[in-house]
């Protein structure tokens, strides 16, 4: 009888949870005949089993609910909120009764009249005008009941004992294998033993799969929670669950149930805005809250996403400061991510006022701690104003994990492989260990980690036989945003470990996460990588470190951008000189023949252009020459060099030269004196008398140049003076002219707004109001141009 009752209770508890969720979903879509059938079947099952066990109250309640649902199935009654609330009331009462039955005192006496009354259909009420399409398909019920036979209910202790049995077999096998090897047994014997071994491994695998449960069990109570909460708060929330087929170890499931419910409650309570605010924000009145699960590798990711207001980093900071969780100074140094993660700090509650729903002292800090206890992490994906997604990532199974075996002072310990980021030897080139003020710091490829020595934390004396030189470092990342280096005497190997909780008085040390029996049959303690940190009392948060690091990198980059770079070269005299890289346009390589001397200075022909070269005389011989092309934005000057040596950062200290000249000063680069060229002085030398065309130079258009005098006599003077010249025939390639020079007496076409200078052939002006210029009066012409348009050089 007791067994039957226990089975009934276990089954009913499950059914009730499922029915609650199904009802809420059905309420949202009353036309969903299939779901109505499913709920009906669930209630029907409870009624049937309870009748068999003679539990009159349970039977009566189930019957009432079944009856009401059947009315709907027959189309005699509309599916409305009142009905759903009534059935939910029955489910609540049944849950209470089952709880009482579970304590073993039989069905308590009591009156369920009101609950059943609430279900009664008031026939005189105006019946809902919308008829619901319902087809009678009662044969479906039968099919579904047959389905139920395909799985069986196994008590948990039995499952655990199977697990223990398999572990025993594995241990025995290992010992047997060792003995076989030692006895030098017949290879055929060993081969058949290996076959046995393989099937044992397969069995172990199956047993751990037996412990897996579909995650929709975890989701089942959520629709009900969301519905009740939303109603209480006057919000409209649509709940969507997906990924229910993902499987998870039942122990993990227990561990994430409360955190998940808490997050969902939080989302409805704080995340989703009141209706008026949603409307004001231009969102739909009905909020969506989705819970989804998916498997990635041996991890399960559960995402709770709402389309509410999201988190406001600034509001969080203000709140944290008010709650004295951080100081204003600390807050300023926080990144956006750090600000969001303030919600995980103990004593933090995001609600403006504590409500009866979420603010009950169970904060996100507890959620995070619970998840970390089982090796999980919590992530926030915030979209301020548009919603928040909280992602829980947990290992698929807690009981069998991959563990790294390490040794310290002759003891073996296991570290969860999932928390290990990297393993390296202390003597390795990529690691450096510094003693800083009594603490130790490991720097691995530029990244710094606080170093913990396992012996010190555990209060062990380092083993005499262990080589201090040969120690290993395990980079451990116990949770998101944290990491440290754990120094151990040696790394042993890694294997799949069956983890059992250790005795509470051992767990209370905070150093261990459980015990395990590796294949050698000697118990090994699993280290609590988070607890070690607490025991060592160090701050392993990466935030500060990576923050500083990022800042450093940033600062370096800024400094590098600001600091001028210096091009080091060897000049033709063999001296090492330098020039600011920014004044160099490029380095040209030209044949020596491209250089020629003209009017006392050396020029270089590069392509179609001619540039002055800073050289006293033409280089001797043929061959190739390297020229630095210095550019000041307008003009180019070439400086011959022998070779480019390097580009270095311009040293801060430069010893300036006593007098202005080619050399601006001397500085030290790599301990060697380097002369710095003075580009200002260089440009100054060649700027005079040089007339390179540029877009900044005004364009003169010649008009009425019938005999070519303008092109042949005037244009060179104008060009020499820094103007561009276009003949009347040119299709104004350089754009609109800045000035028009009219060479003939007749009136040419005059563009609007373009000043005109008339040149006359006669020396004397025609009259007092004649503004024309005598064409051989160079000074007067240039003056006239300067007055009209400026520019050019006099």
């Amino acid at each position: 009888m007791d067994d039957l009752l226990n089975d009934f209770l276990a089954e009913t508890a499950e059914i009730l949870a499922e029915a609650g969720g199904a009802l809420v979903a059905w309420e949202a879509d009353p036309g969903d005949r299939e779901r109505l059938d499913a709920i009906f079947r669930l209630v029907h099952t409870i009624k049937g089993s309870s009748g068999f066990l003679s539990l009159p109250r349970v039977t009566a309640l189930a019957h009432a609910a079944e009856d009401a649902l059947d009315q709907v199935r027959r189309g005699n009654r509309p599916a409305d909120a009142a009905l759903v609330t009534g059935v939910l009331g029955v489910i609540d009462r049944l849950t209470q009764l089952c709880g009482a039955l579970g304590t073993g005192d039989g069905e308590p006496a009591g009156d369920d009249g009101e609950v059943i009354e609430a279900l009664a259909f008031a026939a005189d009420e105006p019946a809902s005008p919308e008829p619901i399409e319902i087809q009678l398909r009662r044969e479906d019920d039968l099919a579904a009941e047959l389905q139920a036979w395909r799985s069986i209910r196994v008590p948990l202790p039995l499952l655990d004992s199977v697990m223990t049995g398999v572990t025993d077999i594995v241990l025995a096998r290992n010992e047997f294998a060792r003995m076989l090897r030692e006895s030098g047994a017949d290879p055929r014997l060993i081969a058949s033993f290996d076959r046995l071994s393989d099937s044992i491994a397969g069995m172990r695998q199956s047993v751990s799969q037996m412990r897996m449960q579909r995650i929709d069990k975890l989701f089942a109570p959520l629709p009900r929670i969301v519905r009740d909460l939303a109603q209480e708060l006057g919000k409209k929330v649509k709940f969507v669950a997906s990924g229910g087929e993902v499987e998870l170890d039942r122990e993990m499931m227990e561990n994430i149930r409360d955190p998940l419910i808490h997050i969902v409650r939080n989302a409805v309570d704080h995340g989703i805005e009141p209706l008026d605010q949603r409307v004001a924000a231009g969102k739909g009145v009905i909020a969506t809250l989705s819970v989804s699960a998916r498997q990635s590798g041996n991890q399960i990711e559960i995402e709770v996403r709402d389309d509410g207001r999201g988190l406001s980093p600034d509001a969080l900071v203000a709140k944290a400061i008010a709650a004295r969780i951080v100081t204003a100074t600390e807050a300023r140094a926080l990144s956006v991510k750090d600000k969001l993660e303030l919600i995980f700090r103990p004593g933090f509650s995001t609600a403006a006022k504590i409500t009866s729903i979420s603010g009950r002292g169970v904060g996100m800090d507890i959620v995070k701690a619970n998840l970390e206890k089982i090796g999980g992490v919590v992530e926030l994906r915030n979209d301020e104003g548009r919603g928040l997604a909280i992602v829980l990532r947990v290992p698929m199974t807690l009981t069998i994990i991959s563990g790294l075996m390490v040794r310290a002072a002759g003891h073996y310990f296991a570290i969860p492989r999932g928390a290990v980021r990297e393993i390296l030897l202390e003597s390795s080139d990529s690691a450096r260990i510094d003693r800083v003020g009594g603490g130790e710091l490991a720097t691995v490829r530029g990244e710094q980690f606080p170093l913990l020595r396992l012996e010190e934390i555990l209060g062990l004396k380092p083993g005499a036989d262990e080589d201090a030189e040969d120690r290993a470092i395990v980079i451990v990342r116990p949770g998101q945003g944290q990491s440290y280096a754990l120094s151990v005497a040696a790394i042993h190997d890694h294997e799949e470990l069956v983890i059992k909780p250790a005795a509470p008085l051992i767990m209370a040390t905070g150093l261990y996460a459980g015990t395990t029996l590796p294949d050698n049959g000697r118990p090994v303690l699993l280290l609590d990588v988070q607890g070690l940190l607490a025991a060592a009392g160090i701050d392993a948060s990466e935030a500060g470190r990576s923050h500083d690091e990022a800042e450093e990198v940033e600062a370096e980059a800024v400094a590098a951008r600001k600091a001028a770079q210096l091009l080091l070269f060897r000049d033709t005299g063999g001296r090492v000189r330098g020039v600011r890289l920014s004044v160099i346009e490029r380095v040209e390589e030209v044949p020596a023949l491209a250089l020629f001397e003209s009017a006392g200075t050396v020029h270089a022909q590069i392509g179609d252009e001619i540039f002055p070269v800073h050289a006293g005389r033409l280089p001797e011989g043929a061959g190739m020459l390297k020229l630095l092309r210095l550019h000041d934005g307008q003009r180019v000057l070439c400086y011959p060099i022998e070779a480019v040596i390097d580009i270095v950062r311009l040293p801060d200290i430069v010893q300036p030269a006593a007098v202005p000249g080619l050399i601006a000063g001397v500085t030290l680069v790599g301990g060697e004196p380097v002369e710095l060229l003075d580009p200002f002085w260089l440009m100054e030398q060649y700027a005079l008398g040089e007339a390179a065309a540029g877009p900044s130079q005004p364009l003169c258009q010649l008009a009425g140049d019938a005999d070519g005098w303008g092109e042949n006599f005037l244009a060179p003077i104008l060009r020499g003076a820094g103007y561009r010249v276009a003949s009347a025939d040119d299709a104004l390639a350089g754009g609109a002219p800045d000035v028009l020079l009219s060479l003939s007496d007749e009136e040419g076409p005059v563009a609007d707004g373009v000043p005109v200078i008339r040149l006359r052939a006669a020396v004397a002006a025609a009259g007092p109001d004649d503004e024309s210029v005598y064409r051989y009066d160079r000074q007067a012409l240039l003056e006239a141009l300067r007055v009209r348009i400026g520019g050019g050089r006099s």
């Binding site: 025993d168 250790a502 005795a503 209370a508 150093l511 015990t515 000697r522 118990p523 090994v524």
Partner: protein, 145 residues
């Protein structure tokens, strides 16, 4: 009858009687494994048929100097709150029925013993303390240790 069945053992240098229903079994320890940084009365761990048991040193619990658990030592296995523990025993004497009733502890005990003793019982002309093995596990260690 079970109520009258007692295990007579010598633990923490004292002959005591333990109610048999509180005891899981008496076994021989395999290789014990030390638990660094554990409370002083935790003498280590050992595996028995793929279960891991926590060794408890009763000497420490009653305020005596600890002893070292060695391979082959007899231990009294008890289950407390679903966890397996083993009390280090100096000697296991006998399992026997004692008809005499348990009586209230008379006389002044050492503070350590006073906390673990439930009652006294007459057996073969000697008064034995009746102790509850669970107390050795759950009680805080005597400060005299």
């Amino acid at each position: 009858m079970m109520e009258k069945l007692y295990l007579i053992a010598r633990i923490a240098d004292t002959r005591v009687a333990l109610r048999s229903r509180a005891i899981h079994s008496v076994v021989t320890v395999g290789t014990p494994v030390e638990v660094p940084a554990a409370p002083p009365h935790v003498a280590g761990l050992f595996a028995l048929r793929s279960r891991v048991f926590t060794l408890i040193d009763p000497h420490v619990v009653v305020g005596l100097a600890p002893v070292t658990a060695v391979e082959g030592q007899r231990v009294i296995v008890v289950d407390v709150a679903d966890h397996g523990y083993a009390l280090l025993a100096d000697a296991i004497e006998d399992v026997c029925f004692i008809d005499a009733p348990e009586t209230r502890v008379t006389g002044k005990l050492l503070p350590g013993w006073a906390r673990v003793a439930d009652a006294m019982i007459e057996h073969e002309g000697a008064s034995l303390l009746v102790v509850d093995p669970a107390h050795f596990v759950t009680l805080p260690v005597a400060s005299a240790a």
